[in-house]
Every structure is written in C-alpha cells, then in structure tokens.
C-alpha cells in the first residue's frame, strides 16, 4: 500500500475539471452575448414565475435519504468483510447475517409505518 498510486488519481481529478472547463471558457469569447429582460426570465413554460423558488418539499424525500444513509453505512462495513471473506469461518457469515437482519428489521418497520409510500 503506497500513497504514490494516488498521484494518478490526483492528477486526473485536476484534469477532469480543466478539460470540460476549457470549452466553457472558450465559449465565453466565441458565443454571442445579447441578454434582454425576457430572455433572462426564469423558464416556466412561458408563465411568469410566482413567488420564491423555494417551495415546501414533502418529508418523503427526507425519509428516502434517511434510509439510504443508514444502508450506505452498512454497505461500507460490508466492504472489508467481503474482502476478508475467504479467510474467515462460517461464524463470520453468521455475524453478518445478524448485522444485516437488524437493518432489514428497521427497513420493514419503515415499510409497515407507510413511510416508504410515495403517495400517502
């Protein structure tokens, strides 16, 4: 395990910004720029926009993000387990079954409480 292999990733990260940014920068000079008030309106199919952009979002979105976050953490813990799997015994598998079952119980709870239903 060395740090050096990440040099490539670091360089790529920098370049992956620069390469797409270059044409955008070029377009600043090549493209016409003739703004007018109508053109600069927010596009809402021709109807003038009303009120703030911010509208009340439904709590449903939050529930999905919530379930996702907790399952994400779980998956992250499964990665080293999967990596070491060939060196482990059956007992390790049993532990992971318990680990996953607990989260499935939580998912079932969410499901039963109808928190996962899109239309209430």
């Amino acid at each position: 395990m060395t740090v050096n292999e990440w040099v490539f990733v670091g360089l790529f990260l920098a370049l992956a910004w620069l390469l797409p940014a270059t044409p955008v920068f070029l377009a600043k000079f090549l493209a016409p720029k003739r703004p007018n008030p109508v053109k600069q309106q927010v596009y809402e199919c021709g109807i003038e926009t009303e009120g703030d952009t911010w509208v009340q979002f439904r709590a449903q979105y939050y529930v999905y993000a919530l379930v996702f976050l907790l399952f994400d953490v779980e998956v992250v813990f499964l990665f080293p387990w999967a990596l070491a799997y060939n060196k482990l015994g059956l007992f390790a598998l049993f532990e992971v079954v318990v680990f996953i079952t607990l989260l499935i119980v939580a998912l079932l709870y969410t499901w039963r409480k109808r928190a996962l239903a899109w239309s209430s």
């Binding site: 709590a59 979105y61 919530l66 953490v73 990665f79 209430s120």
Partner: protein, 199 residues
C-alpha cells in the same frame, strides 16, 4: 518542515479542509454551507489518503459527501430558512474567543513550539516523522477484526443496533403528523368522493 511534494499536497488538503470549515461556519446561505461542508470533508478524505488509509478516504466520500451532506441538503429544503440576515447569535464574540483560546491551547500542546521556546514539560512531543510502513493487507486485517469475537465483534453488532435505532427513531419523528395526513387525502378516499359527487 521541508518542502517536498508530499508536504505541498498536505498543505493543499489542509487548506481545503480548514478553508471549507471556516466558510461553513461563516456563510449566510445554508445551501452554500452544505456545499462547503462537502469541500471540507473532501479535504479530510485527501488527508486520509496521505495517511495511507485509502479505505477510510473511500468511505469518507461515500458516507459524508454521498449521503450525510445530501441528507443535510434535503433537511435544509424542508425547513425554509435557507438564508438568514443574521446567522450568528448574541454570544458570537465570546464563542470566537473560546475557539481561538482553545486552538492556541491545543496548538501549544501538540506542536513543539513551546519546548523550543524553553518551556519545560508543557507539550507532548509529537515530532514523529518516519513511522513504519502500513502492511499491504491492512484492509483485509480490518475486515477480519470487525468479525473477530476477540476484537471488534461486539462494536460491530452494536453499530448495527445503533443504525436500526436511529432509523426507527428518525422515521418516527418525520412521519407526517395526523393533521398533515388529512391535507393529503389518500387516493382511495378521493376516488370515492369523486363517485359520490357525481351522484
């Protein structure tokens, strides 16, 4: 600290981390705050890579940037005070003083500045520079440690229980309250209402 490529990269990521952090606590716009939080946490992931812990860097990106920051943005959208004219409370000066004093204290403890100035027995010496290399199979080792009954088996299962409890608790809290459910009538009822109104 001599100037090498590694120390330059370290400085870059430290700057990203600290700069992002500063912007998080000072910006007026909460959405920008969440984006700066991502930037800062990305810097931390970079520091993890420098510390030869690529696995932790990976989960830093997955968990913090990919999930926690998204959750925070969703929560910001659910509570409409995204921009405030007054982001800080009345005690911000005191808070600033406390933070600066704490930083000075911590810095004086962890760095050898004070002992160089001649103060004996104040700071610990964390001047370690050349630690032994990390073993190749560090992540495999981590995987076995998680399920080893002698090591982290119990924390591993407790982590799962904690996640379960957090999910159940949080879902309890954000479930639509009864009066909100009345607003959004279930489709079955509305269909019935439609039929009844046609009569």
């Amino acid at each position: 600290m001599e100037l090498t490529v590694e120390s330059l990269v370290f400085l870059l990521f430290s700057l990203i981390t600290l700069g992002g952090g500063l912007l998080v606590v000072t910006t007026r716009n909460l959405f920008h705050g969440a984006l700066f939080l991502m930037l800062s946490l990305f810097g931390v992931a970079g520091l993890f890579v420098l510390l030869t812990a690529p696995f932790l860097a990976g989960i830093q990106v997955v968990v913090y940037i990919g999930a926690i920051a998204i959750l925070i943005i969703f929560a910001i959208m659910l509570t409409p005070q995204v921009t405030t004219t007054q982001p800080t409370n009345s005690q911000w000066i005191a808070a600033l003083v406390v933070a600066v004093v704490l930083f000075a204290l911590l810095a004086s403890v962890v760095t050898p500045i004070l002992s160089e100035l001649g103060a004996e027995g104040w700071g610990a010496s964390f001047t370690e520079k050349n630690p032994p290399p990390v073993p190749e199979d560090s992540i495999v080792e981590l995987g076995s440690a998680f399920v080893d009954p002698e090591r982290f088996m119990l924390p591993f299962e407790v982590a799962s229980i904690l996640l379960m409890a957090a999910l159940v608790g949080a879902v309890m809290l954000v479930r639509p309250t009864p009066d909100e459910e009345e607003d959004a009538a279930p489709p079955e009822v509305s269909e019935r209402a439609l039929v009844e109104s046609q009569e």
